[in-house]
């Protein structure tokens, strides 16, 4: 039914993604499809890595760990954004196309009044992507 699952991850807050990661792994096993973990970073040093290449390395090991722990085929894909606070949604939408995913599994907070001003990334991606989107409510 699906060819490839994509999971946006924030390596700085990977701990908060447990439910989405588990959901993605379960779906991957069920449909026997690979999972691609996508991370967005900046050219400037950030809390996760000093350079984009260092970030790519960390993202790749994260994907390998997930693959080994869940017994699934896992890969990683990094996107560099100039201004990630704003460019996250277009970056994710482009990543979905670039890796050829048809199912997105992503974590999102429970909507609140701020979503009227700044829609959640999950909501925007679901609204614009051709892929199916599974928005996982964390905690």
């Amino acid at each position: 039914m699906y060819k490839k699952i994509i999971v946006p991850v924030d390596l700085a807050h990977a701990g908060k993604l447990a439910k989405a990661l588990k959901t993605a792994a379960d779906l991957a096993r069920h449909y026997q499809v690979p999972v691609c973990y996508v991370g967005v970073t900046t050219e400037t040093p950030g809390s996760v890595a000093h350079t984009p290449k260092e970030y790519a390395g960390k993202l790749e090991s994260f994907a390998k760990e997930q693959g080994a722990a869940n017994g699934i085929e896992a890969s990683s894909h990094m996107v560099v954004a100039h201004d990630p606070s704003i460019d996250l949604d277009p970056a994710l939408l482009k990543a979905i196309d670039d890796v050829g995913a048809d199912l997105v599994v992503m974590a999102s907070h429970v909507p609140n009044v701020a979503d009227y001003l700044w829609p959640s990334n999950g909501g925007t991606v679901a609204g614009r992507s051709k892929a199916s989107v599974f928005v996982v409510r964390e905690g």
Partner: protein
């Protein structure tokens, strides 16, 4: 001190030398939510800067006379006592940059050996220009050449206009040349060298050394691990302070200028209400720009601005005496080259009015703006080599400024000298000092004045928007401990806060004294910049060329 021996984390972007430090970006940050809005701010930089800005605004409102007289005394005292220091330091920055361009370290690439530029030349150039001095060109393009030709007498070159308003023919040629050369000196190599030093330091220590994009990072070679403590907090707080007050006061003064222009051209009443509406409008557009991000907002606006400014330049060039302007451009450039050494000589001169009142004031001004402009230039300059970076930041903007001054100043000087009795420029610059009207007075002497003056007002306003949005991004990054991915509500906060401070100061008074205070921060920052040169040199030594 720097751990020179360590290459730290291997960097596959090509060889560069990541500084091995205990500090992790974001380790001092507070993350959480205020109501539904998320935040990720540096503790204590965010709170201390925010609260001290509020405290200073209250002081300026409660004791306007005391603040006014203190800062009104402080600024001229600093520029006349330390003029030699400002002039010498600026010379050091120019020489430092020129030496680096021709040195082997010029081939070090910002962001590692294999990094590629993030922006095309046009987008990059438009952004650094709009943030750097766009607004100043609008304000001083006519004013300065005319003023230096007729009034300030740089290097003792006598004015061609006598007390009774008649023209002294034998002084005309020399004064015309000096008017342009003395202006170009303030907008050419020196200011851009000041920006380049700060920008290069930040880009090098962030992109090549892996330190956070924050002013304190440039001081790592000097203070070592202490930059992550209070030493660094104070540096960053000062930078936020200078940036926010610099922006807020120029926003307030800019609204007054735009209002003066609207009154002159359209008869719009010159009142505080109109000015408050202008500030709200500018802040609203800046807010949209920061919400559209660096690529979708700031860059697009900067390019639009460059486009309109080029059209206006082209119009004045064609509508004015074109051949004379070209010869002004060449003679201005030649005079700049010939007189550069004499103009930048810090001692033994008698042109106090020019040297202390203008040059030292400008140097202090550029230096107090350098944390903001430098940081913004750094952020958009990854992937350039040091040589490419310095050439583009130093030489090309200087040439554009020369052209701008030759065109706007040249036409204005021509108007003054050819028809001293009816020239609107002479009436508003020489007879009465109304600097905010000088541009419109010059345009009045050309065809289609109603249209070009309107374009002039629009340009003034849009240049303020591009300062305000890039400034908000810079303040947000510094107060988020160097993170560029902090939650969006934070940049909304700073952009709005800046507009509010400007409105409060406009209504309550105190804009002038706070601007004097910002310029006064130029003195300590000059020392800071001299230290930065040393830090850059030290940082470049360990980079692969």
């Amino acid at each position: 001190m720097t751990d020179q021996g360590s290459t730290g984390i291997p960097d596959p972007e090509g060889a560069s030398d990541i500084i091995d430090t205990e500090f992790e970006i974001g380790q001092d940050n507070l993350e959480g939510n205020v109501g539904p809005f998320g935040f990720d701010i540096h503790n204590p930089v965010f709170l201390v800067s925010g609260l001290s800005v509020i405290a200073f605004v209250i002081y300026a409102l409660l004791a306007p006379e005391q603040a006014g007289s203190f800062f009104g005394w402080l600024r001229p005292t600093l520029t006349s006592t330390f003029d030699w220091f400002f002039l010498s330091a600026a010379n050091v920055f120019v020489i430092f940059c020129l030496v680096l361009i021709f040195s082997p370290w010029g081939s070090v690439r910002l962001g590692g050996k294999e990094a590629s530029p993030d922006y095309s030349y046009i987008g990059w150039f438009a952004m650094l220009f709009a943030a750097g001095m766009g607004i100043g060109l609008m304000f001083f393009g006519v004013l300065e050449p005319v003023y230096h030709m007729a009034i300030s007498e740089p290097l003792g070159v006598a004015s061609p206009i006598a007390e009774d308003g008649s023209i002294i023919a034998e002084n005309v040629d020399a004064a015309k040349k000096m008017g342009l050369a003395a202006t170009i000196y303030h907008w050419g190599l020196h200011p851009w060298a000041i920006y380049a030093v700060v920008a290069l330091a930040l880009a090098l220590f962030s992109f090549n050394k892996g330190l956070p994009l924050s002013i304190r990072s440039a001081f790592y070679p000097i203070f070592g691990e202490r930059v992550w403590g209070w030493t660094g907090h104070v540096i960053d707080i000062l930078a936020v302070f200078a940036t926010l007050f610099g922006l807020a006061t120029s926003l307030g003064l800019g609204a007054q200028q735009a209002n003066a222009g609207l009154e002159y051209v359209y008869g719009v009443p010159n009142t505080v209400t109109v000015q408050v509406v202008l500030i709200i409008g500018i802040t609203a557009v800046a807010l949209i720009s920061v919400l559209r991000g660096l690529d979708g907002g700031v860059k697009v606006l900067s390019e639009i601005n460059m486009g309109i400014a080029s059209l206006l330049l082209l119009f004045v060039l064609i509508a004015g005496p074109t051949a004379a302007i070209f010869s002004d451009f060449l003679s201005g450039l030649t005079a700049y080259a010939t007189d550069l050494v004499a103009l930048s000589n810090p001692v033994g001169r008698e042109d106090d009015g020019y040297r202390q009142g203008w040059t030292a004031f400008y140097w202090a001004w550029w230096i107090s703006w350098s944390p903001f402009v430098g940081m913004f230039i750094a952020r958009v300059s990854r992937g350039r080599t040091v040589r490419e970076f310095l050439t583009c930041v130093l030489i090309i903007p200087s040439l554009v400024c020369v052209l701008w001054m030759a065109v706007f100043g040249g036409v204005a000087i021509d108007q003054v000298l050819s028809d001293p009795l009816t020239s609107a420029v002479k009436a508003n610059v020489i007879d009465a000092y109304r600097p905010e009207l000088s541009l419109f007075a010059m345009l009045e002497g050309l065809p289609l004045a109603a249209i070009t003056s309107t374009i002039g007002i629009v340009l003034v306003i849009v240049f303020f928007v591009t300062s305000s949005d890039s400034g908000s991004l810079v303040i947000d990054t510094i107060t988020a401990g160097g993170k560029v991915d902090a939650p969006v509500p934070q940049r909304v906060f700073w952009c709005t806060f800046e507009g509010l401070v400007a409105i409060v100061l406009l209504i309550g008074g105190g804009l002038g004294s706070l601007q004097a205070m910002v310029i006064s921060t130029g003195l300590p920052f000059t020392l800071v910049l001299l230290l930065m040169c040393w830090a850059i040199f030290k940082g470049l030594l360990t980079e692969e060329r």
